[in-house]
């Protein structure tokens, strides 16, 4: 469990920060375009940044980082262990592979997605602010900017952020583990199973994200559905 947390969570921090920083800049560039087009102000950009980041992009990005770095690796590892007979070795010693291999990996991935989503969100807000200042879209001080963001915090956001990271992370982890364990007894199946696990986990993350958006906010994008 500790090793898995180290690999999935701690080692993934730098990648999450990189992606978060890059996407933060992209968001602010888009915001700058809107400023030019419809005359938006800083007061309007801060809530937009906050909502886009916390409600949608940060949890998704964290899931992408964890699936890309760890999910596919876990799937490959478990598939190889199955083909090599290592799971049988565990089983023969009275050690349940589900509790000794799958559960620690799922728990680590869930915890990592949550933590990396926080890190990603922080990186996006920081680079968003720096980028916004650089292109002249944001004209307030950093403290003022943070004040505006804090003012935008809604209990719905927290309600959304926690289940989105945890549920999506759990599904992605479970899919990667179970797909890895589903491999037949040939080593040539392993790459195919791993690739499939990655795609299915990504698909699940997007679908769960959409379902949670509908359930919590009652809308998809700008369209009211509930």
């Amino acid at each position: 469990m500790a090793r898995q947390l180290l690999f999935t969570g701690v080692d993934g921090t730098w990648a999450a920060m990189r992606f978060g920083a890059a996407v933060g800049v992209l968001l602010i560039v888009q915001a700058a375009l809107w400023v030019d087009a419809i005359g938006m102000t800083t007061e309007m950009i801060a809530p937009m940044l906050w909502r886009v980041i916390v409600r949608e992009v940060a949890p998704l990005l964290a899931c992408l980082v964890v699936i890309g770095r760890s999910g596919i690796a876990i799937s490959t590892e478990l598939a190889t262990m199955r083909v090599d007979g290592e799971l049988e070795v565990l089983d023969a010693q009275g050690i349940d592979p589900m509790t000794s291999l799958v559960m620690p990996r799922v728990t680590s991935m869930v915890f990592s997605v949550f933590c990396l989503a926080l890190i990603t969100a922080t990186a996006m807000i920081l680079t968003g602010y720096v980028g916004g200042r650089a292109v002249g879209v944001i004209r307030v001080s950093f403290v003022g900017f943070v004040d505006q963001l804090v003012g935008e915090i809604d209990t719905l956001d927290l309600l959304f952020f926690v289940p989105k990271t945890i549920v999506a992370g759990a599904f992605a982890a479970a899919i990667c583990c179970l797909d890895g364990l589903s491999v037949k007894a040939t080593i040539t199946d392993v790459p195919r199973v791993s690739a499939r696990a990655g795609i299915r986990a990504l698909g699940a993350v997007f679908i769960i994200s959409a379902i949670l958006s509908i359930l919590i906010y009652g809308r998809i994008l700008i369209f009211e559905v509930i």
Partner: protein
């Protein structure tokens, strides 16, 4: 169909392993085939099954441990079969079985010493007991300590001795030995048989699956039941038992 008793003189001791009319056709052609086989193994007994050199025994050993299930018949360990969904009981029962594997025997991303102690730690064996037991068997096999490298970097012969130690840890009720002397020089035969005799004296039942015909079981371990697997049947090799026991 006769019922094999591993060693009649000891049959008053508790029954450890029982196969009743077990049929298994392994998925792989080289696996050991069983056709309505009966078998009994009591505490403190040694039962050897000689197989062809081309026959793999892994599926048969897994069948005994309840990891694979027979097409027909019943496998009982300590009077309990492996059917049903009480997996906790199954895992607990397997924790009482030591096994020297044929083929893959290690979790590759753990060091060998971690591998050796993994099951004992998992099943709550006291660290002091693990340490003393390992020390005992290390001394027995002339080793200073367990290897602390990944299995891929350890010589096959050394790994095989570590497999022995792992199988013998924690006073198992049954030890399954699949070609336990492969990769090892002839000088190890006597050492290992002595270790098996010590294990048996503690009440452990031993099932030895091997293709070798030159092992001096009777000289070192004493009387034991010897069977030969052939075309799905087990035939007695003990002259005292009057040949085939079908």
């Amino acid at each position: 169909m006769g019922l094999y008793k591993a060693f009649d003189a000891l049959s008053e001791t508790p029954l450890v392993l029982e196969l009743q009319r077990v049929t298994q056709r392994p998925a792989f052609e080289s696996g050991l085939e069983l056709l309505e086989v009966d078998l009994e193994l009591h505490a403190g007994e040694l039962l050897t099954i000689q197989v062809d050199a081309a026959t793999r025994t892994r599926s048969f050993a897994s069948l005994i441990q309840g990891i694979l299930h027979p097409e027909a018949g019943v496998v009982r360990f300590l009077q309990q079969d492996w059917r049903g969904s009480n997996y906790q009981r199954h895992f607990w029962q397997r924790s009482l079985i030591g096994r020297v594997f044929e083929g893959q025997a290690w979790i590759e991303n753990l060091n060998v010493d971690e591998n050796v102690t993994l099951a004992a730690r998992h099943h709550g064996m006291q660290l002091s007991d693990i340490t003393s037991s390992i020390q005992h068997w290390c001394n027995y096999f002339g080793m200073d300590k367990l290897a602390s490298r990944r299995p891929a970097f350890v010589a096959p012969a050394t790994l095989q001795i570590h497999q022995w130690i792992r199988a013998f840890l924690g006073n198992p009720k049954l030890v399954i030995l699949e070609s336990p002397l492969q990769y090892l020089a002839q000088k190890w035969v006597k050492v290992f048989l002595d270790a098996v005799a010590e294990l048996m004296s503690r009440g452990t039942a031993v099932l030895w699956l091997d293709s070798r015909t030159d092992l001096p079981f009777s000289e070192v371990v004493g009387p034991c039941q010897r069977l030969r697997a052939d075309q799905g049947k087990l035939h007695s090799m003990n002259l005292a038992h009057g040949g085939d026991n079908e």
